[in-house]
Symmetry: C2
Subunit: 200 residues, 2 copies
Protein backbone atom coordinates (compact mmCIF):
# COMPACT_ATOMS: atom_id res chain seq x y z
CA UNK A 1 0.00 0.00 0.00
CA UNK A 2 2.73 2.49 0.84
CA UNK A 3 5.03 2.42 -2.20
CA UNK A 4 3.59 2.73 -5.73
CA UNK A 5 4.38 -0.35 -7.80
CA UNK A 6 6.27 1.52 -10.51
CA UNK A 7 8.56 2.93 -7.80
CA UNK A 8 9.00 -0.54 -6.26
CA UNK A 9 9.91 -1.92 -9.70
CA UNK A 10 12.44 0.83 -10.28
CA UNK A 11 14.08 0.22 -6.89
CA UNK A 12 14.19 -3.50 -7.63
CA UNK A 13 15.57 -2.96 -11.15
CA UNK A 14 18.36 -0.67 -9.89
CA UNK A 15 19.70 -3.59 -7.85
CA UNK A 16 21.06 -5.18 -11.02
CA UNK A 17 23.85 -2.61 -10.74
CA UNK A 18 26.95 -4.05 -9.04
CA UNK A 19 27.45 -2.76 -5.50
CA UNK A 20 23.89 -1.40 -5.19
CA UNK A 21 21.94 -2.79 -2.22
CA UNK A 22 18.33 -2.12 -1.21
CA UNK A 23 19.13 1.13 0.64
CA UNK A 24 21.10 2.74 -2.16
CA UNK A 25 18.67 1.51 -4.81
CA UNK A 26 15.92 3.30 -2.89
CA UNK A 27 18.02 6.43 -2.56
CA UNK A 28 18.79 6.36 -6.30
CA UNK A 29 15.16 5.87 -7.31
CA UNK A 30 13.96 8.72 -5.07
CA UNK A 31 16.71 10.98 -6.31
CA UNK A 32 15.93 10.31 -9.97
CA UNK A 33 12.17 10.70 -9.58
CA UNK A 34 12.40 13.78 -7.38
CA UNK A 35 15.43 15.66 -8.68
CA UNK A 36 16.63 14.28 -12.00
CA UNK A 37 13.92 13.00 -14.29
CA UNK A 38 15.95 14.22 -17.23
CA UNK A 39 18.89 12.07 -16.09
CA UNK A 40 16.56 9.10 -15.67
CA UNK A 41 15.28 9.63 -19.20
CA UNK A 42 18.82 9.83 -20.53
CA UNK A 43 19.80 6.68 -18.65
CA UNK A 44 16.81 4.73 -20.00
CA UNK A 45 17.74 5.80 -23.52
CA UNK A 46 21.43 5.03 -23.09
CA UNK A 47 20.66 1.54 -21.78
CA UNK A 48 18.36 0.88 -24.69
CA UNK A 49 20.87 2.15 -27.21
CA UNK A 50 23.76 0.19 -25.72
CA UNK A 51 21.68 -2.98 -25.67
CA UNK A 52 20.91 -2.52 -29.33
CA UNK A 53 24.23 -1.25 -30.61
CA UNK A 54 26.89 -3.00 -28.53
CA UNK A 55 28.34 -6.38 -29.34
CA UNK A 56 31.76 -8.00 -29.20
CA UNK A 57 34.42 -7.50 -31.84
CA UNK A 58 34.77 -10.75 -33.77
CA UNK A 59 38.56 -10.52 -33.65
CA UNK A 60 39.53 -9.08 -30.25
CA UNK A 61 36.32 -9.70 -28.28
CA UNK A 62 36.16 -6.19 -26.80
CA UNK A 63 32.92 -4.17 -26.85
CA UNK A 64 32.30 -2.79 -30.30
CA UNK A 65 29.49 -1.41 -32.41
CA UNK A 66 31.03 -2.84 -35.58
CA UNK A 67 31.58 -6.49 -36.33
CA UNK A 68 35.33 -5.82 -36.37
CA UNK A 69 36.44 -2.92 -34.15
CA UNK A 70 38.46 -0.02 -35.52
CA UNK A 71 41.66 -1.12 -33.79
CA UNK A 72 41.51 -4.59 -35.29
CA UNK A 73 40.91 -2.99 -38.69
CA UNK A 74 43.78 -0.53 -38.37
CA UNK A 75 46.69 -0.99 -40.76
CA UNK A 76 48.97 0.82 -38.31
CA UNK A 77 49.05 -2.05 -35.81
CA UNK A 78 51.46 -4.97 -35.97
CA UNK A 79 49.32 -8.10 -36.51
CA UNK A 80 52.20 -10.39 -35.48
CA UNK A 81 51.81 -9.37 -31.81
CA UNK A 82 48.73 -10.35 -29.82
CA UNK A 83 48.35 -9.10 -26.25
CA UNK A 84 45.83 -10.91 -24.03
CA UNK A 85 44.13 -8.85 -21.31
CA UNK A 86 41.30 -9.51 -18.87
CA UNK A 87 39.14 -6.45 -19.54
CA UNK A 88 38.65 -3.49 -21.91
CA UNK A 89 39.92 -1.25 -19.09
CA UNK A 90 43.21 -3.15 -19.00
CA UNK A 91 43.49 -2.71 -22.75
CA UNK A 92 42.94 1.04 -22.38
CA UNK A 93 45.62 1.17 -19.67
CA UNK A 94 48.14 -0.50 -22.00
CA UNK A 95 47.15 1.79 -24.88
CA UNK A 96 47.81 4.82 -22.71
CA UNK A 97 51.45 3.75 -22.35
CA UNK A 98 51.94 4.21 -26.14
CA UNK A 99 54.45 1.35 -25.74
CA UNK A 100 52.55 -1.27 -27.71
CA UNK A 101 51.52 -1.28 -31.34
CA UNK A 102 50.27 -4.85 -31.73
CA UNK A 103 46.72 -6.15 -31.45
CA UNK A 104 44.71 -7.40 -28.47
CA UNK A 105 42.48 -10.16 -27.34
CA UNK A 106 40.16 -9.29 -24.44
CA UNK A 107 39.15 -12.28 -22.31
CA UNK A 108 36.23 -10.39 -20.71
CA UNK A 109 37.03 -12.17 -17.49
CA UNK A 110 39.56 -14.53 -15.94
CA UNK A 111 39.71 -18.18 -15.00
CA UNK A 112 38.11 -18.29 -11.56
CA UNK A 113 36.91 -21.74 -10.49
CA UNK A 114 35.36 -20.34 -7.29
CA UNK A 115 33.05 -18.15 -9.38
CA UNK A 116 32.31 -20.99 -11.77
CA UNK A 117 34.35 -19.40 -14.56
CA UNK A 118 36.49 -21.94 -16.39
CA UNK A 119 38.03 -22.06 -19.87
CA UNK A 120 34.65 -23.03 -21.33
CA UNK A 121 32.90 -19.93 -19.92
CA UNK A 122 35.64 -17.70 -21.34
CA UNK A 123 35.30 -19.52 -24.68
CA UNK A 124 39.06 -19.72 -25.00
CA UNK A 125 38.77 -21.69 -28.23
CA UNK A 126 38.18 -18.33 -29.90
CA UNK A 127 41.49 -17.02 -28.56
CA UNK A 128 43.18 -20.19 -29.76
CA UNK A 129 41.78 -19.75 -33.26
CA UNK A 130 42.81 -16.10 -33.20
CA UNK A 131 46.36 -16.90 -32.03
CA UNK A 132 46.78 -19.67 -34.62
CA UNK A 133 45.76 -17.57 -37.62
CA UNK A 134 49.24 -17.90 -39.11
CA UNK A 135 50.01 -14.18 -38.74
CA UNK A 136 50.45 -13.95 -34.96
CA UNK A 137 54.06 -14.71 -34.00
CA UNK A 138 53.93 -13.94 -30.28
CA UNK A 139 51.18 -13.86 -27.67
CA UNK A 140 51.91 -11.52 -24.75
CA UNK A 141 49.89 -12.46 -21.70
CA UNK A 142 48.98 -9.32 -19.75
CA UNK A 143 46.50 -10.68 -17.23
CA UNK A 144 46.71 -9.26 -13.71
CA UNK A 145 49.33 -10.43 -11.24
CA UNK A 146 46.58 -11.61 -8.91
CA UNK A 147 46.02 -15.27 -8.05
CA UNK A 148 43.27 -15.53 -10.64
CA UNK A 149 45.19 -13.59 -13.26
CA UNK A 150 48.21 -15.83 -12.66
CA UNK A 151 46.12 -18.99 -12.94
CA UNK A 152 44.65 -17.66 -16.17
CA UNK A 153 48.13 -16.86 -17.52
CA UNK A 154 49.31 -20.34 -16.60
CA UNK A 155 46.36 -21.99 -18.32
CA UNK A 156 46.70 -19.85 -21.45
CA UNK A 157 50.45 -20.53 -21.58
CA UNK A 158 49.93 -24.29 -21.54
CA UNK A 159 47.14 -24.11 -24.08
CA UNK A 160 48.98 -21.88 -26.53
CA UNK A 161 52.39 -23.51 -26.23
CA UNK A 162 50.87 -26.93 -26.92
CA UNK A 163 49.84 -25.51 -30.30
CA UNK A 164 53.34 -24.24 -30.96
CA UNK A 165 52.52 -20.57 -30.29
CA UNK A 166 55.30 -18.46 -28.77
CA UNK A 167 54.06 -17.02 -25.46
CA UNK A 168 55.44 -14.31 -23.17
CA UNK A 169 54.27 -12.64 -19.96
CA UNK A 170 54.57 -8.96 -19.04
CA UNK A 171 57.31 -8.40 -16.47
CA UNK A 172 56.75 -7.88 -12.80
CA UNK A 173 59.11 -6.21 -10.36
CA UNK A 174 59.86 -2.92 -8.63
CA UNK A 175 57.65 -0.17 -10.13
CA UNK A 176 59.39 2.57 -12.08
CA UNK A 177 60.24 5.29 -9.56
CA UNK A 178 59.70 2.76 -6.76
CA UNK A 179 61.88 2.82 -3.65
CA UNK A 180 62.81 -0.58 -2.23
CA UNK A 181 61.88 0.68 1.22
CA UNK A 182 58.25 0.93 0.16
CA UNK A 183 57.92 -2.15 -2.07
CA UNK A 184 56.22 -5.19 -0.54
CA UNK A 185 58.36 -8.24 0.20
CA UNK A 186 56.62 -10.47 -2.35
CA UNK A 187 57.28 -8.07 -5.20
CA UNK A 188 60.86 -7.60 -4.05
CA UNK A 189 61.43 -11.37 -3.92
CA UNK A 190 60.09 -11.73 -7.46
CA UNK A 191 62.24 -8.84 -8.63
CA UNK A 192 65.30 -10.65 -7.25
CA UNK A 193 64.38 -13.98 -8.79
CA UNK A 194 63.55 -12.41 -12.14
CA UNK A 195 66.66 -10.22 -12.29
CA UNK A 196 68.07 -9.49 -15.74
CA UNK A 197 71.57 -8.83 -17.05
CA UNK A 198 72.42 -5.16 -16.57
CA UNK A 199 72.55 -3.29 -19.87
CA UNK A 200 76.13 -2.30 -20.71
CA UNK B 1 38.62 5.45 -30.95
CA UNK B 2 38.89 3.03 -28.02
CA UNK B 3 35.42 3.08 -26.44
CA UNK B 4 32.30 2.71 -28.64
CA UNK B 5 30.08 5.79 -28.35
CA UNK B 6 27.03 3.90 -27.09
CA UNK B 7 29.19 2.53 -24.25
CA UNK B 8 30.57 6.02 -23.52
CA UNK B 9 27.01 7.38 -23.41
CA UNK B 10 25.91 4.65 -21.04
CA UNK B 11 28.84 5.28 -18.69
CA UNK B 12 28.07 9.01 -18.77
CA UNK B 13 24.33 8.44 -18.20
CA UNK B 14 24.96 6.19 -15.18
CA UNK B 15 26.64 9.13 -13.47
CA UNK B 16 23.22 10.70 -12.86
CA UNK B 17 22.91 8.15 -10.04
CA UNK B 18 23.86 9.61 -6.67
CA UNK B 19 27.22 8.37 -5.38
CA UNK B 20 28.31 7.00 -8.76
CA UNK B 21 31.63 8.39 -10.02
CA UNK B 22 33.42 7.71 -13.31
CA UNK B 23 35.07 4.49 -12.10
CA UNK B 24 31.93 2.85 -10.79
CA UNK B 25 29.87 4.04 -13.75
CA UNK B 26 32.36 2.25 -15.99
CA UNK B 27 32.23 -0.87 -13.85
CA UNK B 28 28.41 -0.82 -13.92
CA UNK B 29 28.23 -0.36 -17.69
CA UNK B 30 30.70 -3.19 -18.33
CA UNK B 31 28.88 -5.46 -15.91
CA UNK B 32 25.49 -4.81 -17.50
CA UNK B 33 26.70 -5.23 -21.07
CA UNK B 34 28.81 -8.29 -20.32
CA UNK B 35 26.88 -10.16 -17.65
CA UNK B 36 23.37 -8.79 -17.22
CA UNK B 37 21.73 -7.57 -20.39
CA UNK B 38 18.41 -8.79 -19.04
CA UNK B 39 18.85 -6.61 -15.95
CA UNK B 40 19.75 -3.66 -18.15
CA UNK B 41 16.61 -4.22 -20.18
CA UNK B 42 14.53 -4.41 -17.02
CA UNK B 43 16.13 -1.22 -15.68
CA UNK B 44 15.46 0.68 -18.90
CA UNK B 45 11.82 -0.41 -18.77
CA UNK B 46 11.43 0.40 -15.07
CA UNK B 47 12.86 3.88 -15.57
CA UNK B 48 10.52 4.52 -18.47
CA UNK B 49 7.50 3.23 -16.57
CA UNK B 50 8.29 5.23 -13.43
CA UNK B 51 8.80 8.38 -15.48
CA UNK B 52 5.39 7.89 -17.05
CA UNK B 53 3.42 6.62 -14.07
CA UNK B 54 4.86 8.41 -11.04
CA UNK B 55 3.69 11.80 -9.85
CA UNK B 56 3.08 13.47 -6.51
CA UNK B 57 -0.06 12.96 -4.47
CA UNK B 58 -2.06 16.19 -4.58
CA UNK B 59 -2.76 15.99 -0.87
CA UNK B 60 0.35 14.58 0.83
CA UNK B 61 2.98 15.20 -1.88
CA UNK B 62 4.50 11.71 -1.69
CA UNK B 63 5.15 9.65 -4.82
CA UNK B 64 1.92 8.24 -6.16
CA UNK B 65 0.50 6.81 -9.35
CA UNK B 66 -2.93 8.21 -8.55
CA UNK B 67 -3.82 11.88 -8.21
CA UNK B 68 -4.67 11.22 -4.56
CA UNK B 69 -2.72 8.36 -2.95
CA UNK B 70 -4.47 5.45 -1.25
CA UNK B 71 -3.47 6.59 2.24
CA UNK B 72 -4.93 10.05 1.72
CA UNK B 73 -8.11 8.42 0.41
CA UNK B 74 -8.41 5.98 3.32
CA UNK B 75 -11.37 6.44 5.63
CA UNK B 76 -9.43 4.68 8.40
CA UNK B 77 -7.04 7.56 8.98
CA UNK B 78 -7.73 10.50 11.29
CA UNK B 79 -7.84 13.60 9.06
CA UNK B 80 -7.48 15.92 12.07
CA UNK B 81 -3.80 14.95 12.48
CA UNK B 82 -1.20 15.93 9.90
CA UNK B 83 2.37 14.72 10.31
CA UNK B 84 5.06 16.54 8.30
CA UNK B 85 8.12 14.50 7.27
CA UNK B 86 11.09 15.18 5.02
CA UNK B 87 10.93 12.08 2.79
CA UNK B 88 8.75 9.09 1.84
CA UNK B 89 11.26 6.90 3.71
CA UNK B 90 10.61 8.83 6.91
CA UNK B 91 6.90 8.34 6.38
CA UNK B 92 7.42 4.59 5.96
CA UNK B 93 9.48 4.52 9.18
CA UNK B 94 6.65 6.17 11.10
CA UNK B 95 4.08 3.83 9.54
CA UNK B 96 6.09 0.84 10.69
CA UNK B 97 5.63 1.95 14.31
CA UNK B 98 1.83 1.45 13.98
CA UNK B 99 1.65 4.31 16.48
CA UNK B 100 0.13 6.89 14.18
CA UNK B 101 -3.19 6.86 12.38
CA UNK B 102 -3.35 10.40 11.05
CA UNK B 103 -2.34 11.69 7.64
CA UNK B 104 0.99 12.96 6.30
CA UNK B 105 2.58 15.72 4.33
CA UNK B 106 5.90 14.86 2.70
CA UNK B 107 8.17 17.87 2.16
CA UNK B 108 10.39 15.97 -0.33
CA UNK B 109 13.34 17.80 1.13
CA UNK B 110 14.30 20.19 3.88
CA UNK B 111 15.16 23.85 4.21
CA UNK B 112 18.85 23.97 3.40
CA UNK B 113 20.13 27.43 2.43
CA UNK B 114 23.62 26.05 1.64
CA UNK B 115 22.09 23.82 -1.06
CA UNK B 116 19.89 26.64 -2.31
CA UNK B 117 16.74 25.03 -0.91
CA UNK B 118 14.47 27.57 0.75
CA UNK B 119 10.73 27.67 1.51
CA UNK B 120 10.02 28.58 -2.12
CA UNK B 121 11.81 25.52 -3.50
CA UNK B 122 9.84 23.27 -1.11
CA UNK B 123 6.65 25.05 -2.21
CA UNK B 124 5.52 25.29 1.39
CA UNK B 125 2.40 27.24 0.40
CA UNK B 126 0.91 23.84 -0.49
CA UNK B 127 1.51 22.56 3.04
CA UNK B 128 -0.05 25.73 4.39
CA UNK B 129 -3.16 25.25 2.29
CA UNK B 130 -3.30 21.60 3.34
CA UNK B 131 -2.94 22.44 7.05
CA UNK B 132 -5.58 25.17 6.87
CA UNK B 133 -8.28 23.04 5.25
CA UNK B 134 -10.49 23.36 8.32
CA UNK B 135 -10.23 19.66 9.19
CA UNK B 136 -6.61 19.48 10.43
CA UNK B 137 -6.47 20.28 14.14
CA UNK B 138 -2.81 19.57 14.84
CA UNK B 139 0.33 19.48 12.72
CA UNK B 140 3.05 17.19 14.09
CA UNK B 141 6.45 18.14 12.76
CA UNK B 142 8.60 15.03 12.33
CA UNK B 143 11.57 16.40 10.44
CA UNK B 144 14.97 15.01 11.40
CA UNK B 145 16.81 16.22 14.48
CA UNK B 146 19.68 17.41 12.30
CA UNK B 147 20.60 21.07 11.89
CA UNK B 148 18.65 21.29 8.66
CA UNK B 149 15.69 19.33 9.99
CA UNK B 150 15.61 21.59 13.04
CA UNK B 151 15.77 24.74 10.91
CA UNK B 152 12.93 23.37 8.79
CA UNK B 153 10.87 22.58 11.90
CA UNK B 154 11.47 26.09 13.22
CA UNK B 155 10.43 27.69 9.95
CA UNK B 156 7.31 25.52 9.63
CA UNK B 157 6.38 26.22 13.24
CA UNK B 158 6.48 29.98 12.72
CA UNK B 159 4.59 29.76 9.44
CA UNK B 160 1.83 27.50 10.75
CA UNK B 161 1.37 29.16 14.14
CA UNK B 162 0.99 32.57 12.48
CA UNK B 163 -2.07 31.08 10.74
CA UNK B 164 -3.47 29.82 14.02
CA UNK B 165 -2.58 26.16 13.41
CA UNK B 166 -1.67 24.10 16.47
CA UNK B 167 1.85 22.67 16.00
CA UNK B 168 3.80 20.00 17.86
CA UNK B 169 7.22 18.38 17.41
CA UNK B 170 8.09 14.70 17.95
CA UNK B 171 10.03 14.22 21.19
CA UNK B 172 13.75 13.74 21.42
CA UNK B 173 15.66 12.12 24.25
CA UNK B 174 17.26 8.87 25.36
CA UNK B 175 16.27 6.09 22.90
CA UNK B 176 14.04 3.33 24.26
CA UNK B 177 16.39 0.65 25.61
CA UNK B 178 19.20 3.22 25.58
CA UNK B 179 21.83 3.18 28.32
CA UNK B 180 23.00 6.59 29.50
CA UNK B 181 26.58 5.38 29.28
CA UNK B 182 26.27 5.10 25.50
CA UNK B 183 24.09 8.14 24.74
CA UNK B 184 25.90 11.21 23.38
CA UNK B 185 26.18 14.27 25.59
CA UNK B 186 24.01 16.47 23.36
CA UNK B 187 21.10 14.03 23.47
CA UNK B 188 21.51 13.62 27.22
CA UNK B 189 21.51 17.38 27.76
CA UNK B 190 18.28 17.68 25.74
CA UNK B 191 16.73 14.80 27.65
CA UNK B 192 17.46 16.65 30.89
CA UNK B 193 16.11 19.97 29.66
CA UNK B 194 12.99 18.35 28.20
CA UNK B 195 12.26 16.18 31.24
CA UNK B 196 8.60 15.43 31.95
CA UNK B 197 6.65 14.79 35.12
CA UNK B 198 7.02 11.13 36.12
CA UNK B 199 3.77 9.21 35.58
CA UNK B 200 2.24 8.24 38.94
ZN1 LIG C 1 38.67 -5.80 -32.23
ZN1 LIG D 1 -1.38 11.24 -0.39
Amino acid sequence: MTTPSSLESLIEALRCLPGVGPKSAQRMAYHLMQHDREGAQRLAGALQLALTALRHCQRCNTFSEAEICSRCQSSKRDPALLCVVETPVDMNMLEQTHAYAGLYYVLMGRVSPLDGVGPAELRLERLLARACDGVVREVIIATNYTNEGEATAHYLGEMLRSRGVSVSRIARGVPVGGELEYVDAGTLAQALRERRPLAA
